[in-house]
């Protein structure tokens, strides 16, 4: 829960809403530096289980960076330094004894640009499964089918599972990536603008999928598209210049934000 902004909102209401499901991610006073540049400034936010949380804000506001903190993908970039705490399910993921590989198995991610491996559709998912020690063929086939069904892709590809994943359309590729990410049943699914490179029909399919997936997964989605955030998310965090401006129920953010900046952004006055 963002500290400063939320305190100004009616206190009772937010606590009530936050209590719907238990918290799973707790970020406290987290700052991130690219070299000397402070890209995230003392962010504190709590994300609850099995709901969709959206991060919105103008380009360069740090929303994707914060998302990547949750599975430590920022570790791959040189000169990144992080201060503050990030707990997932009670464990400090920046602690000394954290195995990032195990962390990423539990915190899956879907990227902005679909990135299926240059392998067959089946193999794309099977690779993820093998990483998790699934080796029996029948079990693998079963999970491949289940994940493709969950990603609403099964009917379109069931006859060509052994052709390359790169032969699919952009929207199908992105759904394949989602299928791959959920095949290993992560606890949390991070989505970094999953539909920004897709046409409206493919986007609608992805959004439907997100609503379907939130029954089983905790989803955090970064989006540029405010309508999308409004459509799919339960909670929305608005970022600006590396700061969390406001974090509240999506409905409230879009209808009655407590911050002037948030209102300006969601009504399209800037950004």
């Amino acid at each position: 829960m963002g500290e400063a902004p939320v305190t100004r909102a009616p206190q009772v209401k937010t606590t009530e809403l936050a209590a719907e499901t238990p918290a799973i991610v707790e970020i406290t006073d987290l700052s991130l530096f690219y070299g000397a540049t402070k890209a995230l400034k003392n962010i504190s936010v709590t994300i609850s289980e099995k709901i969709v949380t959206a991060f919105i804000g103008p380009s360069g506001c740090g929303k994707s960076t914060l998302l990547r903190c949750l599975n430590r993908m920022n570790d791959l970039i040189d000169n990144v330094r992080i201060e503050g705490k990030c707990h997932i399910a009670g464990q400090d993921i920046y602690g000394h004894d954290i195995d990032t590989i195990e962390l990423r198995k539990r915190v899956g991610m879907v990227f902005q640009r679909s990135n299926p491996f240059p392998k067959s559709i089946h193999e794309n998912i099977a690779y993820a499964l093998r990483l998790h020690g699934t080796n029996s063929k029948s079990e693998m086939d079963e999970i491949v089918e289940r994940s493709l069904r969950q990603a609403a892709l099964w009917d379109e590809v069931k006859d060509r599972l052994h052709t390359s994943g790169l032969g699919l359309s952009g929207g199908q590729q992105q759904r394949l990536c989602i299928a791959r990410a959920i095949a290993i049943q992560p606890e949390i699914l991070l989505m970094d603008e999953p539909a920004s490179a897709l046409d409206p029909i493919a986007t609608a399919k992805i959004e439907e999928l997100i609503l379907e997936l939130k029954k089983d997964y905790t989803i955090v989605i970064v989006t540029h598209n405010m309508q999308q955030a409004a459509r799919v998310s339960d909670y929305t965090a608005f970022f600006y210049m590396g700061q969390l401006v406001e974090f509240d129920r999506t409905l409230k953010i879009f209808t009655n934000p407590s911050q002037r900046q948030t209102e300006d952004y969601v009504t399209g006055r800037f950004g």
Partner: protein, 392 residues
């Protein structure tokens, strides 16, 4: 009305420039055509070289060369009865030489030839034309040997030109070079492109590529003096200069080439594959091995083929580290690759003679071999690429 006409004329004037086309940029046009000519001329060069090499070897291909130590000898009476053209061939003269020689000179030449009969060898192999294909490719039981053998021995009375030991030598040495260079070069390429930190990559990459800057004669020298003795001490084999040593030193020349091309191929694999794999919970090593390497396979394969081509064609190193052409499958016997044979023997071969022709034939063979190898590799690469990209 006239106002309208004037307006139309003005309009046409403004648009007139679009009709001038290429004449407006003559320099660019000229440069483009110039580059086209240059690129075609390289193809022409390759073709010309091939034609030249093959032309010198034509008598071998047509079987018009005779390397038999004993030439046919006719008595003076028989020879004088020959028709002029047949006599010219018998005396091994060119048209012009034959025309210039008067009857007296011809008679003298016939006599000299008849005299030679006394010095002829009694060896049964002396009558054999060793440039015939069956002697070039198949084993033959030469006088003094107790079984048919493949022998390359271009000196002495009887010139033995079996090319199989040379081919075997080339293959043996190149395969050893590849077996040594590929794992090292590919491992280094994978490490530098995927696993190394940028700061490590910064010095490691140029350091490995520095190896390609070493002149091959220096590498050969090093192999001949240092490596040869060291390897002999370690492995304790008999022959100091052998296929193993030649292959290993050749590998040193192949490593930077394979590394360079493979590293490029691996680096051009989109970073998004690595990110996707890591986000699924694979380690960097698993991602590099299972995802990046297969995705770069066409390029990596091309690197291996080019490395093999380089190994086949490299001359100086094998010339310095190989010795006798022995028909043996053992790596620890000495070997003489085709390139070494050409380089070592061409200088002492009689110009236009059978040895000379055979060496050119070997050159043409090497050329064709490399060409076919590259062609096949291209086919495989495009097939691999299509499969990766999901095209059928």
């Amino acid at each position: 009305m006239s106002h309208k006409v004037q307006e139309n004329a003005e309009k046409a004037n403004r648009w007139i420039g679009i009709r001038r086309g290429q004449t407006r940029r003559p320099l660019e046009w000229l440069a483009e055509k110039g580059i086209l000519v240059v690129s075609f001329s390289t193809i022409l060069m390759v073709l010309l070289i091939f034609i030249f090499v093959t032309k010198e070897a034509l008598p071998i291909f047509f079987g018009t060369m005779n390397s038999a130590a004993n030439q046919t000898i006719l008595s003076v009476e028989e020879a004088t009865k020959l028709k002029p053209e047949a006599l010219r061939e018998y005396l091994n003269l060119t048209q012009k030489e034959f025309a210039d020689a008067d009857a007296e000179t011809r008679a003298l030449l016939i006599e000299v030839r008849a005299e030679a009969a006394k010095d002829q060898s009694k060896d049964k192999d002396a009558k054999v034309n060793t440039t015939e294909w069956r002697y070039l490719l198949k084993a033959h039981q030469w006088t003094g040997y107790d079984k048919p053998e493949y022998i390359w021995q271009p000196v002495g009375d009887i010139h033995k030109y079996n090319i199989i030991p040379l081919l075997l030598g080339s293959l043996k040495v190149s395969l050893v070079a590849l077996a040594f260079a590929l794992p090292i070069a590919l491992g280094a390429a994978l490490y530098v492109s995927q696993l190394a930190r940028p700061s490590t990559k910064e010095w490691l990459k140029p350091a490995i590529e520095l190896l390609s800057g070493i002149p091959s004669v220096v590498l050969g020298f090093f192999a001949l003096i240092v490596l040869a003795s060291a390897l002999q001490n370690i492995f304790g084999y008999q022959t100091r200069l052998n296929a193993f040593l030649a292959g290993l030193s050749l590998g040193l020349a192949v490593i930077p080439l394979v590394f360079s091309i493979a590293e490029d191929a691996l680096t051009t694999v989109p970073a998004s594959y690595m990110q996707a794999a890591l986000a699924l919970g694979s380690s960097k090593w698993q991602a590099a091995w299972h995802i990046i390497l297969p995705a770069a396979l066409p390029g990596v394969f091309a690197a291996a083929v080019l490395g093999f081509g380089r190994a086949l064609g490299e001359t100086m190193i094998v010339l310095m580290t190989s010795s006798a052409s022995i028909m043996s499958f053992s790596l620890f016997d000495s070997a003489r690759p085709i390139t070494a044979a050409i380089a070592a023997e061409l200088a002492e071969a009689v110009f236009g003679g059978h040895h000379y022709r055979i060496l050119f034939m070997l050159g043409a063979l090497l050329f064709s071999l490399t060409f076919v190898l590259n062609l096949l590799a291209d086919l495989v690469i495009s097939k691999l690429r299509n499969r990766l990209e999901g095209k059928k």
